[in-house]
Amino acid sequence: MAEFEPRIAAFVCTWCTYAGADLAGTSRLQYASNVRVIKLPCTGRIDFHFIIKAFERGADAVLVSGCHPGDCHYTAGNYHARRRWTIFRKLLEFTGIESDRVTFAWVSAAEGAKWANLVNEVTEKARKLGPFTRYKRLNEIAEGEAER
């Protein structure tokens, strides 16, 4: 059987992490191809619904990344985001979503190598966890035509 290839949604800010990912690309760094990058203006724009929707649509893991604290293009968007994620990730854990399914990171525009490593790590973590069968089961139930 082929090795499980996790599908990972990455929500990144356009100013730092996206630029960092770009740098990784232009530097021809090789890294796992499991991540689908969704670019947003700022980590402050990343609503928690994005994470839930990603899981609903079949993501096995989610990566959220933006500018390092203090480096936000909009002064404090990442600080606001950090405060929200501090609590939100605990709520997800509490409802039974493995903490390794959601990764938070700061990757600057200069950290192409960090991005490549991060993606590899996140992919490895997700691979270890296996497919997110719990959530996929919800999809099966929701889409099942069987009588409830």
Binding site: H49, R82, T86, I87, L91, F94, L118, I141
Partner: protein
């Protein structure tokens, strides 16, 4: 006590200090109490306060039908005062538009009318006498018990609970702090939360409801009481209250009627350990 309460209500109405009183009256079902809105002084005798008076009446402060009536005086338990304070803090209610007829139940179970009337007096009373119920050691035991389980067990537990949700939104409608004129659950462009009462939609809804109250919930327990499916919603609320306290070292919500709301602000020294 009840005579004092009625007298105060009558006084507020006759002097015109308040246009209506939101309080409790005995319900038709024996032993139960229901919210009541009165506008005439002679109806003050219908007001009661006893152990069965559980509704958080601050929910009415933001309702358009009630706002139309004018200045509101509310019979307010500590949780109701806290909810009203959060509404003031979030600029949903003008502080001068609300008068309090504050009540409390002593540890011995005795209902009392508080002498405190102003926001400042009531805040002082809350800080000195009313620790946040949602953070009481006893109340956090079941949260801790669940935290100790594996994620698989927690998932199974909540899935079983959420599977009963019928999406009646009673939890949202009774919550004094769910005041959005159009809830994200009622929006469909885009549709973040599926309206269907299946596991996927129910999980999205219940996570959303809980998280939108993080740092704001005053622990009144109305959502859980109202839930016709018996989902232990307070377990989520208490978990969040605990995490907010532990992560940011702030006091529970509703112990201030002005100043910055938790998620409206930030600190450079907020936790950073979970970032790669």
């Amino acid at each position: 006590m009840i005579d004092q309460l009625r007298r105060r209500a009558r006084e507020l109405l006759t002097t015109g200090e308040a246009a209506c009183i939101i309080g409790y009256a005995n319900a038709s079902v024996p032993g139960k109490a229901a919210p009541i809105v009165i506008t005439r002084a002679e109806d003050a005798d219908r007001l009661v306060f006893h152990a069965a008076c559980c509704n958080n009446l601050a929910v009415y402060l933001t309702r358009p039908e009630i706002r139309k009536l004018g200045t509101v005086a509310m019979v307010a338990k500590p949780a109701d005062v806290r909810a009203a304070f959060v509404l003031m803090q979030e600029n949903q209610v003008r502080p001068d538009d609300v008068k309090f007829i504050a009540v409390d139940v002593t540890p011995a179970g005795e209902c009392t009318l508080l002498a405190q009337r102003t926001r400042e007096e009531l805040l002082d009373y809350l800080v000195k006498n009313v620790p946040p119920a949602e953070l009481a050691d006893d109340a956090l035991k079941d949260v801790a018990a669940l935290e100790e389980q594996t994620d698989g067990e927690r998932w199974a537990y909540w899935q079983q609970q959420f599977s009963r949700c019928i999406r009646c939104y009673a939890c949202r409608q009774v919550c004094p702090l769910c005041y959005c004129s159009r809830c994200v659950a009622d929006k469909n462009r885009p549709q973040w939360i599926e309206t269907s009462a299946h596991g996927r939609g129910n999980l999205a809804w219940n996570i959303t409801r809980a998280f939108h109250l993080a740092g704001r919930c005053v622990g009144c327990g109305e959502c859980e009481r109202a839930c016709p499916a018996g989902i232990p919603l307070m377990k989520l609320n208490r978990k969040l209250a605990k995490d907010v306290r532990d992560s940011f070292g702030v006091h529970a919500a509703g112990y201030a009627f002005s100043g910055e709301q938790l998620f409206a602000g930030y600190s450079p020294s907020d936790p950073n350990d979970f970032f790669e």
